[in-house]
């Protein structure tokens, strides 16, 4: 580390005003604060002193995403080798295949997103902020694995510029940037984001795992199958036609967007977020409560017209992106509600809308993304109502005392 410190000190003068590379000052500052703790702290005013800063918060979220990411790689491999009829392949090979399949998406997401952040910071002579660290890893986890890389790049660029930079950068955005990326993909290239060909990688990754798909192959996700289900009972199957249970969905060995399939991995992430206090348990719990309530309500009136209403409430939570959205999207502190009562309302409505869209809107087999984006828009209003209600109550109390 000492060598690195010395090197950073040595090249520092070039980046200061007057130096050769002063145009890249914020790039240097960004790298320095990424590698070392900044040696300047605020000296005056009432600040809360805590070892936790933005960088550490972001890193905690990234760590919490690791189980989902690692499992996603394994599951991509698993689905692939199932599809080409080699289910006996060892788990390590499967994982390596998934790693190779996901790596380009991760690289593209980070290069494009961070590139725009660096350029933006440079133009405005501001510090580079760490906001994209989490977004950059969320995007590969929620974009279907077969999304072409240039689409990921276009959508990431669009989201970072129009959902984040124009609002003032990290911490000022109204909508969750990763979800905007997915929404751009979803509305811009709908054929790539749903249906049979989006969610299971059937071709080789860097020459690995080449093979033809078996005849019984069908890449539809469980929710996709439910949306097109006909008849009074649901029959779900995996990519080669074998039946699956809610237990499979809980473990995550089903087709879907990389990060969303495994409830176990997501719950480990949730535990990390809650123990470190990074995410709000109020939001997280109320999303699940809202989802359960809406799913239970719909399950009381099951109807073949809306096949998803035949799914049991617990199964609703396990399938699709609901749990991932609840743990990693809804709890985004920037775009969510901040008052305590507001957080309960905000989370509960996300849960309700996610299941509502999923069951009763035939056009969208999954509603978690749209529900979170919708409630992002309403979060400031909820906060405003809670605060003004509180002010009114306290004014009344004060007046009564006199």
């Amino acid at each position: 580390m000492k060598f690195l410190r010395k090197y950073m000190d040595k090249i520092q003068p070039q980046f200061r005003p007057g130096g050769k590379l002063q145009k890249l000052e914020s790039v240097y500052d960004g790298m320095e604060s990424f590698l070392f703790t900044p040696n300047t702290t605020s000296s005056s005013g009432a600040h809360i002193h805590d070892g936790n800063d933005l960088k550490r918060t972001m890193i905690t979220v990234v760590v919490a995403l690791m189980p989902a990411l690692l499992f996603a790689m394994y599951n991509i491999g698993l689905q692939h080798y199932l599809a080409i009829g080699q289910p006996e392949t060892s788990w390590l090979t499967m994982w390596t295949f998934g790693l190779l399949a996901m790596l380009p998406v991760i690289v593209v997401s980070y290069v494009v997103g961070l590139g725009i952040e660096f350029i933006g910071a440079q133009i405005h002579h501001k510090e580079i902020q760490e906001g994209f660290l989490v977004t950059g890893i969320l995007i590969p986890l929620i974009a279907p694995i077969n999304t072409p890389l240039w689409m990921v790049a276009v959508a990431t660029a669009f989201a970072v510029i129009f959902a984040k930079e124009v609002f003032g950068g990290t911490g000022m955005n109204i909508f969750n940037v990763a979800l905007i990326t997915r929404a751009v993909l979803f509305f811009g290239y709908p054929s790539r984001m749903s249906g049979d060909e989006a969610f299971v990688k059937t071709d080789a990754a860097f020459g690995m795992g080449a093979g033809n798909t078996v005849d019984s192959f069908s890449g539809a996700t469980p929710l996709g199958q439910i949306a097109t289900n006909v008849g009074d009972s649901l029959s779900l199957h995996n990519v080669v036609g074998d039946p699956i249970t809610t237990c499979d969905a809980f473990m995550g060995t089903i087709a879907g967007s990389p990060g969303e399939t495994s409830m176990v991995a997501i719950l480990i992430g949730a535990a990390i977020l809650l123990i470190t206090g990074v995410a709000s348990w109020r939001v997280m719990c109320s999303v699940f409560a809202g989802g359960l309530a809406m799913a239970a309500l719909a399950n009381v009136f099951p109807s073949p017209t809306y096949p998803a209403s035949m799914l049991s409430p617990w199964a609703q939570l396990c399938y699709g992106g609901f749990a991932f959205a609840a743990v990693f999207m809804a709890t985004d502190p920037v775009t969510g509600a901040r008052t305590r009562i507001g957080q309960y309302i905000y989370g509960f409505l996300i849960g309700v809308f996610a299941i509502l869209i999923r069951i009763y809107n035939g056009g969208y087999p999954e509603g978690a993304m749209l529900a979170v984006l919708l409630m992002n828009a309403f979060a400031p209003l909820i906060d405003h109502c809670v605060i003004s209600f509180n002010i009114k109550r306290r004014l009344q109390r004060a007046n009564n005392k006199q």
Binding site: P148, W150, M151, F187, G188, Y189
Partner: protein, 207 residues
Amino acid sequence: MLSKKNKEALFNPLSKDNPVLVQILGICSTLAVTASMEPAIVMGISVIAVMALSNVIISLIRKSIPTTIRIIVQLVVVAALVIIVQQFLIAFDYDVSKQLSVFIGLIITNCILMGRLEAFALNNRPWPSFLDGIGNGLGYTIILVIVAAVRELFGSGSLMGFQVIPQWCYDHGYENNGLMILPPMALITVACIIWVHRARNPELMEN
């Protein structure tokens, strides 16, 4: 004929006083008719025609209109002109008039129109009013055409209905962006144009 004041009436609305970019008027039709270029151009020409003629008519009778009922008089004039334009389109360009559907009829509610009648035609002679109508109509049309060009190019890969993006690109994995066809993209495109326009004209920036 083209004194300094008249020149301003004609050319200012093209950029410095553009009805869409600076006054943010007429946004509804900008969203509705800009998915491709052909209806956008027809819509623009219709608005120019209605605006120029209604400006002249109102300016001619401006001294005899009682102030209390001037809005109603303006609406009658505009409505009559809009119906003429609509019938003309149905007669000569049926397909486009189908595409534009109610939006030709809704020219009557276009804020730019009423705004120019109130702000200009009621206080000026017919010739400057005519130029003002042409200028504002052109300012509106330019924005409409730019937005439509961007949306049609990226949304359908064509311009004026002709394929622009070569088949070679599609063979190599390029796809049209469906989001461009949806109305929200018109707003974002207009926002980008405003962004560029303000950056080039810093004196227009609001605090």
